[in-house]
Symmetry: C2
Protein backbone atom coordinates (compact mmCIF):
# COMPACT_ATOMS: atom_id res chain seq x y z
CA UNK A 1 0.00 0.00 0.00
CA UNK A 2 3.03 2.24 0.22
CA UNK A 3 2.50 3.77 -3.22
CA UNK A 4 -1.08 4.78 -2.55
CA UNK A 5 -0.27 6.42 0.77
CA UNK A 6 2.65 8.24 -0.86
CA UNK A 7 0.36 9.33 -3.67
CA UNK A 8 -2.17 10.70 -1.19
CA UNK A 9 0.55 12.42 0.86
CA UNK A 10 1.74 14.11 -2.28
CA UNK A 11 -1.56 16.02 -2.33
CA UNK A 12 -2.67 16.29 1.33
CA UNK A 13 -1.20 15.92 4.81
CA UNK A 14 -2.40 12.82 6.70
CA UNK A 15 -1.58 11.53 10.20
CA UNK A 16 -0.30 8.00 10.88
CA UNK A 17 -3.71 7.11 12.30
CA UNK A 18 -5.36 8.32 9.12
CA UNK A 19 -2.91 6.29 7.01
CA UNK A 20 -3.91 3.16 8.97
CA UNK A 21 -7.59 3.99 8.52
CA UNK A 22 -7.09 4.49 4.78
CA UNK A 23 -5.61 0.97 4.59
CA UNK A 24 -8.87 -0.46 5.93
CA UNK A 25 -10.89 1.31 3.18
CA UNK A 26 -9.06 -0.42 0.32
CA UNK A 27 -8.98 -4.03 -0.92
CA UNK A 28 -6.33 -5.69 -3.09
CA UNK A 29 -7.62 -7.02 -6.40
CA UNK A 30 -6.09 -8.58 -9.47
CA UNK A 31 -7.51 -8.39 -12.98
CA UNK A 32 -6.07 -10.85 -15.46
CA UNK A 33 -5.09 -9.63 -18.90
CA UNK A 34 -8.20 -8.99 -21.05
CA UNK A 35 -10.59 -9.21 -18.09
CA UNK A 36 -12.92 -6.33 -17.29
CA UNK A 37 -12.83 -3.80 -14.49
CA UNK A 38 -16.16 -2.45 -15.76
CA UNK A 39 -18.43 -3.44 -18.63
CA UNK A 40 -20.99 -1.34 -20.49
CA UNK A 41 -24.41 -1.57 -18.88
CA UNK A 42 -23.07 -2.34 -15.39
CA UNK A 43 -22.71 0.13 -12.51
CA UNK A 44 -19.15 1.19 -11.63
CA UNK A 45 -19.08 0.23 -7.96
CA UNK A 46 -15.48 1.07 -7.12
CA UNK A 47 -12.49 3.28 -7.75
CA UNK A 48 -9.19 1.47 -8.31
CA UNK A 49 -5.63 2.66 -7.74
CA UNK A 50 -3.30 0.81 -10.13
CA UNK A 51 -0.18 -0.57 -8.42
CA UNK A 52 0.87 -2.61 -11.46
CA UNK A 53 -0.57 -3.04 -14.94
CA UNK A 54 -2.40 -1.21 -17.69
CA UNK A 55 -6.03 -0.68 -18.64
CA UNK A 56 -7.91 1.00 -21.46
CA UNK A 57 -11.21 2.86 -21.39
CA UNK A 58 -13.35 2.44 -24.46
CA UNK A 59 -16.72 3.19 -25.95
CA UNK A 60 -18.47 0.55 -28.01
CA UNK A 61 -19.87 2.28 -31.06
CA UNK A 62 -21.67 0.15 -33.65
CA UNK A 63 -19.37 -2.78 -32.98
CA UNK A 64 -16.22 -0.68 -33.01
CA UNK A 65 -14.24 -0.23 -29.80
CA UNK A 66 -13.04 3.37 -29.51
CA UNK A 67 -10.32 3.80 -26.89
CA UNK A 68 -10.44 7.22 -25.24
CA UNK A 69 -8.05 6.80 -22.30
CA UNK A 70 -5.48 4.51 -20.67
CA UNK A 71 -4.59 4.03 -17.00
CA UNK A 72 -1.33 2.69 -15.68
CA UNK A 73 0.65 2.45 -12.41
CA UNK A 74 -0.02 5.33 -10.04
CA UNK A 75 -3.35 6.36 -11.52
CA UNK A 76 -6.95 5.99 -10.42
CA UNK A 77 -9.37 3.97 -12.51
CA UNK A 78 -13.07 4.71 -12.48
CA UNK A 79 -15.92 5.75 -14.72
CA UNK A 80 -17.06 8.67 -12.58
CA UNK A 81 -20.07 9.18 -14.84
CA UNK A 82 -21.42 5.83 -13.62
CA UNK A 83 -19.81 5.76 -10.16
CA UNK A 84 -20.95 9.14 -8.82
CA UNK A 85 -24.62 8.53 -9.44
CA UNK A 86 -24.38 4.72 -9.32
CA UNK A 87 -25.97 4.48 -12.77
CA UNK A 88 -25.18 2.00 -15.55
CA UNK A 89 -22.00 2.69 -17.49
CA UNK A 90 -21.82 3.60 -21.19
CA UNK A 91 -18.10 2.78 -21.17
CA UNK A 92 -15.98 -0.31 -20.67
CA UNK A 93 -12.69 -0.54 -18.77
CA UNK A 94 -10.50 -3.53 -19.61
CA UNK A 95 -7.11 -4.76 -18.31
CA UNK A 96 -4.58 -4.94 -21.16
CA UNK A 97 -1.99 -6.61 -18.88
CA UNK A 98 -2.31 -8.56 -15.64
CA UNK A 99 -3.24 -5.68 -13.36
CA UNK A 100 -2.98 -5.29 -9.61
CA UNK A 101 -4.91 -2.59 -7.88
CA UNK A 102 -6.30 -1.33 -4.62
CA UNK A 103 -10.02 -0.70 -4.80
CA UNK A 104 -12.36 1.36 -2.68
CA UNK A 105 -16.15 0.98 -2.75
CA UNK A 106 -18.60 3.88 -3.04
CA UNK A 107 -19.53 3.61 0.65
CA UNK A 108 -15.92 3.41 1.82
CA UNK A 109 -15.07 6.46 -0.27
CA UNK A 110 -17.82 8.42 1.50
CA UNK A 111 -16.19 7.31 4.79
CA UNK A 112 -12.85 8.47 3.45
CA UNK A 113 -14.30 11.93 2.77
CA UNK A 114 -15.90 11.96 6.23
CA UNK A 115 -13.15 10.55 8.43
CA UNK A 116 -9.97 11.86 6.80
CA UNK A 117 -9.53 15.52 7.73
CA UNK A 118 -8.34 16.67 4.29
CA UNK A 119 -10.27 13.91 2.49
CA UNK A 120 -12.64 16.29 0.70
CA UNK A 121 -9.65 18.36 -0.41
CA UNK A 122 -8.02 15.24 -1.85
CA UNK A 123 -11.25 14.42 -3.69
CA UNK A 124 -11.45 17.96 -5.07
CA UNK A 125 -7.87 17.93 -6.34
CA UNK A 126 -8.34 14.55 -8.05
CA UNK A 127 -11.64 15.58 -9.66
CA UNK A 128 -10.04 18.81 -10.87
CA UNK A 129 -7.09 16.94 -12.39
CA UNK A 130 -9.44 14.54 -14.16
CA UNK A 131 -11.61 17.38 -15.40
CA UNK A 132 -8.68 19.33 -16.80
CA UNK A 133 -7.36 16.22 -18.57
CA UNK A 134 -10.79 15.75 -20.05
CA UNK A 135 -10.94 19.39 -21.24
CA UNK A 136 -7.62 18.88 -23.00
CA UNK A 137 -9.02 15.78 -24.70
CA UNK A 138 -12.03 17.76 -25.91
CA UNK A 139 -9.80 20.49 -27.35
CA UNK A 140 -7.80 17.84 -29.11
CA UNK A 141 -10.91 16.32 -30.72
CA UNK A 142 -11.98 19.70 -32.02
CA UNK A 143 -8.72 20.94 -33.33
CA UNK A 144 -6.04 18.31 -33.81
CA UNK A 145 -5.45 16.29 -36.97
CA UNK A 146 -4.32 12.64 -36.42
CA UNK A 147 -0.59 13.56 -36.60
CA UNK A 148 -0.92 15.97 -33.69
CA UNK A 149 -3.11 13.55 -31.74
CA UNK A 150 -0.45 10.88 -32.18
CA UNK A 151 2.27 13.32 -31.07
CA UNK A 152 0.17 14.16 -28.05
CA UNK A 153 -0.22 10.49 -27.23
CA UNK A 154 3.56 10.00 -27.40
CA UNK A 155 4.17 13.04 -25.22
CA UNK A 156 1.59 12.06 -22.58
CA UNK A 157 2.17 8.30 -22.65
CA UNK A 158 5.78 7.92 -23.83
CA UNK A 159 6.25 4.88 -21.61
CA UNK A 160 3.17 3.19 -23.05
CA UNK A 161 4.33 2.99 -26.66
CA UNK A 162 6.01 -0.36 -26.10
CA UNK A 163 3.17 -1.72 -23.97
CA UNK A 164 0.27 -0.99 -26.30
CA UNK A 165 -0.57 -2.66 -29.58
CA UNK A 166 -0.82 -0.57 -32.76
CA UNK A 167 -4.53 -1.38 -32.75
CA UNK A 168 -5.06 0.32 -29.37
CA UNK A 169 -2.90 3.33 -30.20
CA UNK A 170 -4.67 3.80 -33.56
CA UNK A 171 -8.05 3.58 -31.83
CA UNK A 172 -7.03 6.31 -29.38
CA UNK A 173 -5.67 8.55 -32.15
CA UNK A 174 -8.90 7.99 -34.05
CA UNK A 175 -7.51 6.36 -37.20
CA UNK A 176 -7.24 2.87 -38.72
CA UNK A 177 -4.04 0.95 -37.86
CA UNK A 178 -2.87 1.31 -41.50
CA UNK A 179 -3.20 5.11 -41.30
CA UNK A 180 -1.21 5.10 -38.07
CA UNK A 181 1.63 3.26 -39.85
CA UNK A 182 1.67 5.95 -42.53
CA UNK A 183 1.71 8.72 -39.92
CA UNK A 184 4.62 7.05 -38.13
CA UNK A 185 6.55 6.66 -41.38
CA UNK A 186 6.02 10.32 -42.27
CA UNK A 187 7.14 11.37 -38.80
CA UNK A 188 10.40 9.38 -38.94
CA UNK A 189 11.24 11.10 -42.23
CA UNK A 190 10.96 14.56 -40.70
CA UNK A 191 14.29 16.33 -40.04
CA UNK B 1 -26.31 37.38 -3.95
CA UNK B 2 -29.29 35.32 -2.86
CA UNK B 3 -29.07 32.93 -5.79
CA UNK B 4 -25.44 32.08 -5.20
CA UNK B 5 -25.94 31.39 -1.50
CA UNK B 6 -28.97 29.24 -2.32
CA UNK B 7 -26.94 27.41 -4.93
CA UNK B 8 -24.17 26.71 -2.40
CA UNK B 9 -26.69 25.64 0.27
CA UNK B 10 -28.14 23.20 -2.20
CA UNK B 11 -24.83 21.30 -2.01
CA UNK B 12 -23.42 22.00 1.46
CA UNK B 13 -24.58 23.31 4.84
CA UNK B 14 -23.26 26.78 5.72
CA UNK B 15 -23.77 28.97 8.80
CA UNK B 16 -25.02 32.56 8.63
CA UNK B 17 -21.50 33.77 9.46
CA UNK B 18 -20.14 31.73 6.57
CA UNK B 19 -22.78 33.15 4.21
CA UNK B 20 -21.64 36.67 5.18
CA UNK B 21 -18.01 35.71 4.65
CA UNK B 22 -18.83 34.25 1.23
CA UNK B 23 -20.35 37.63 0.24
CA UNK B 24 -16.99 39.29 0.86
CA UNK B 25 -15.22 36.82 -1.47
CA UNK B 26 -17.31 37.75 -4.53
CA UNK B 27 -17.53 40.88 -6.67
CA UNK B 28 -20.38 41.94 -8.96
CA UNK B 29 -19.41 42.33 -12.62
CA UNK B 30 -21.22 43.03 -15.84
CA UNK B 31 -20.11 41.90 -19.28
CA UNK B 32 -21.78 43.62 -22.19
CA UNK B 33 -23.06 41.55 -25.09
CA UNK B 34 -20.15 40.33 -27.25
CA UNK B 35 -17.49 41.28 -24.67
CA UNK B 36 -15.07 38.69 -23.34
CA UNK B 37 -14.90 36.99 -19.96
CA UNK B 38 -11.67 35.31 -21.11
CA UNK B 39 -9.67 35.47 -24.33
CA UNK B 40 -7.26 32.94 -25.78
CA UNK B 41 -3.70 33.53 -24.60
CA UNK B 42 -4.75 35.22 -21.34
CA UNK B 43 -4.83 33.61 -17.88
CA UNK B 44 -8.28 32.86 -16.45
CA UNK B 45 -8.05 34.77 -13.16
CA UNK B 46 -11.55 34.23 -11.84
CA UNK B 47 -14.56 31.97 -11.58
CA UNK B 48 -17.91 33.60 -12.31
CA UNK B 49 -21.41 32.68 -11.15
CA UNK B 50 -23.95 33.85 -13.72
CA UNK B 51 -26.92 35.68 -12.18
CA UNK B 52 -28.25 36.85 -15.55
CA UNK B 53 -27.13 36.31 -19.13
CA UNK B 54 -25.54 33.80 -21.42
CA UNK B 55 -22.00 32.97 -22.52
CA UNK B 56 -20.35 30.59 -24.94
CA UNK B 57 -17.03 28.77 -24.67
CA UNK B 58 -15.18 28.31 -27.93
CA UNK B 59 -11.94 27.16 -29.45
CA UNK B 60 -10.42 29.14 -32.27
CA UNK B 61 -9.28 26.65 -34.85
CA UNK B 62 -7.74 27.98 -38.05
CA UNK B 63 -10.00 31.00 -38.01
CA UNK B 64 -13.12 29.00 -37.20
CA UNK B 65 -14.79 29.46 -33.82
CA UNK B 66 -15.92 26.09 -32.48
CA UNK B 67 -18.40 26.40 -29.60
CA UNK B 68 -18.10 23.54 -27.14
CA UNK B 69 -20.22 24.77 -24.21
CA UNK B 70 -22.65 27.44 -23.03
CA UNK B 71 -23.23 28.90 -19.57
CA UNK B 72 -26.37 30.59 -18.36
CA UNK B 73 -28.06 31.71 -15.13
CA UNK B 74 -27.15 29.56 -12.14
CA UNK B 75 -23.95 28.13 -13.58
CA UNK B 76 -20.28 28.73 -12.94
CA UNK B 77 -18.08 30.08 -15.69
CA UNK B 78 -14.38 29.32 -15.79
CA UNK B 79 -11.73 27.71 -17.92
CA UNK B 80 -10.38 25.44 -15.18
CA UNK B 81 -7.56 24.31 -17.47
CA UNK B 82 -6.15 27.83 -17.31
CA UNK B 83 -7.45 28.86 -13.87
CA UNK B 84 -6.17 25.94 -11.78
CA UNK B 85 -2.56 26.32 -12.86
CA UNK B 86 -2.85 30.03 -13.74
CA UNK B 87 -1.57 29.32 -17.26
CA UNK B 88 -2.62 30.96 -20.51
CA UNK B 89 -5.95 29.82 -21.92
CA UNK B 90 -6.43 27.96 -25.21
CA UNK B 91 -10.15 28.80 -25.09
CA UNK B 92 -12.26 31.95 -25.24
CA UNK B 93 -15.38 32.71 -23.20
CA UNK B 94 -17.67 35.41 -24.60
CA UNK B 95 -20.91 36.99 -23.39
CA UNK B 96 -23.70 36.44 -25.95
CA UNK B 97 -26.10 38.67 -23.99
CA UNK B 98 -25.51 41.41 -21.42
CA UNK B 99 -24.36 39.24 -18.55
CA UNK B 100 -24.30 39.88 -14.81
CA UNK B 101 -22.19 37.70 -12.61
CA UNK B 102 -20.50 37.35 -9.26
CA UNK B 103 -16.80 36.63 -9.59
CA UNK B 104 -14.26 35.18 -7.21
CA UNK B 105 -10.50 35.48 -7.71
CA UNK B 106 -8.05 32.58 -7.44
CA UNK B 107 -6.81 33.80 -4.04
CA UNK B 108 -10.30 34.36 -2.66
CA UNK B 109 -11.30 30.88 -3.78
CA UNK B 110 -8.39 29.42 -1.78
CA UNK B 111 -9.73 31.40 1.21
CA UNK B 112 -13.18 29.96 0.53
CA UNK B 113 -11.74 26.44 0.69
CA UNK B 114 -9.84 27.29 3.86
CA UNK B 115 -12.40 29.30 5.83
CA UNK B 116 -15.70 27.63 4.90
CA UNK B 117 -16.02 24.36 6.81
CA UNK B 118 -17.49 22.34 3.93
CA UNK B 119 -15.76 24.49 1.29
CA UNK B 120 -13.54 21.69 0.00
CA UNK B 121 -16.58 19.44 -0.24
CA UNK B 122 -18.37 22.08 -2.32
CA UNK B 123 -15.31 22.31 -4.58
CA UNK B 124 -15.20 18.54 -4.97
CA UNK B 125 -18.89 18.28 -5.89
CA UNK B 126 -18.60 21.07 -8.47
CA UNK B 127 -15.43 19.61 -10.04
CA UNK B 128 -17.11 16.19 -10.19
CA UNK B 129 -20.19 17.63 -11.90
CA UNK B 130 -18.05 19.45 -14.44
CA UNK B 131 -15.95 16.35 -15.07
CA UNK B 132 -18.98 14.13 -15.63
CA UNK B 133 -20.48 16.67 -18.04
CA UNK B 134 -17.20 16.70 -19.88
CA UNK B 135 -17.12 12.87 -20.06
CA UNK B 136 -20.58 12.93 -21.59
CA UNK B 137 -19.39 15.45 -24.17
CA UNK B 138 -16.47 13.19 -25.08
CA UNK B 139 -18.77 10.20 -25.55
CA UNK B 140 -20.95 12.31 -27.75
CA UNK B 141 -18.02 13.33 -29.97
CA UNK B 142 -17.02 9.72 -30.42
CA UNK B 143 -20.36 8.19 -31.05
CA UNK B 144 -23.10 10.62 -31.97
CA UNK B 145 -24.01 11.73 -35.48
CA UNK B 146 -25.14 15.40 -35.84
CA UNK B 147 -28.85 14.51 -35.42
CA UNK B 148 -28.22 12.97 -32.02
CA UNK B 149 -25.90 15.80 -30.99
CA UNK B 150 -28.62 18.29 -31.90
CA UNK B 151 -31.20 16.27 -29.94
CA UNK B 152 -28.82 16.24 -27.00
CA UNK B 153 -28.43 20.00 -27.24
CA UNK B 154 -32.20 20.47 -27.20
CA UNK B 155 -32.57 18.13 -24.23
CA UNK B 156 -29.78 19.76 -22.19
CA UNK B 157 -30.43 23.36 -23.22
CA UNK B 158 -34.11 23.46 -24.15
CA UNK B 159 -34.44 27.00 -22.79
CA UNK B 160 -31.52 28.20 -24.90
CA UNK B 161 -32.98 27.44 -28.31
CA UNK B 162 -34.63 30.84 -28.52
CA UNK B 163 -31.63 32.68 -27.09
CA UNK B 164 -28.93 31.30 -29.39
CA UNK B 165 -28.42 32.02 -33.07
CA UNK B 166 -28.43 29.15 -35.56
CA UNK B 167 -24.75 29.87 -36.09
CA UNK B 168 -23.90 29.13 -32.45
CA UNK B 169 -26.09 26.04 -32.24
CA UNK B 170 -24.62 24.65 -35.48
CA UNK B 171 -21.11 25.28 -34.21
CA UNK B 172 -21.87 23.34 -31.02
CA UNK B 173 -23.46 20.46 -32.95
CA UNK B 174 -20.41 20.44 -35.22
CA UNK B 175 -22.10 21.19 -38.55
CA UNK B 176 -22.52 24.14 -40.90
CA UNK B 177 -25.67 26.27 -40.32
CA UNK B 178 -27.15 24.96 -43.61
CA UNK B 179 -26.77 21.35 -42.43
CA UNK B 180 -28.47 22.25 -39.16
CA UNK B 181 -31.46 23.60 -41.11
CA UNK B 182 -31.71 20.28 -42.96
CA UNK B 183 -31.49 18.32 -39.69
CA UNK B 184 -34.25 20.44 -38.17
CA UNK B 185 -36.46 19.98 -41.23
CA UNK B 186 -35.97 16.22 -41.14
CA UNK B 187 -36.78 16.16 -37.44
CA UNK B 188 -40.04 18.10 -37.80
CA UNK B 189 -41.18 15.56 -40.43
CA UNK B 190 -40.76 12.64 -38.02
CA UNK B 191 -43.98 11.21 -36.58
Amino acid sequence: MLNLIQYIQHLIAITEEEASLIHTFFEERTYQKNSFFLTEGRVCKQVGFVTQGLLRYYINHEGEEKAYAFAQEGSFVCNYESFLVQASSSKTIQALEDTHMLTISYDSLQQFYKKIKAGERFGRLIAEQLYVQSLKDITSFYTDPPEIRYNRFIKNHSNLQQRLSQYHIASYVGVKPQSLSRIRKRMTKLP
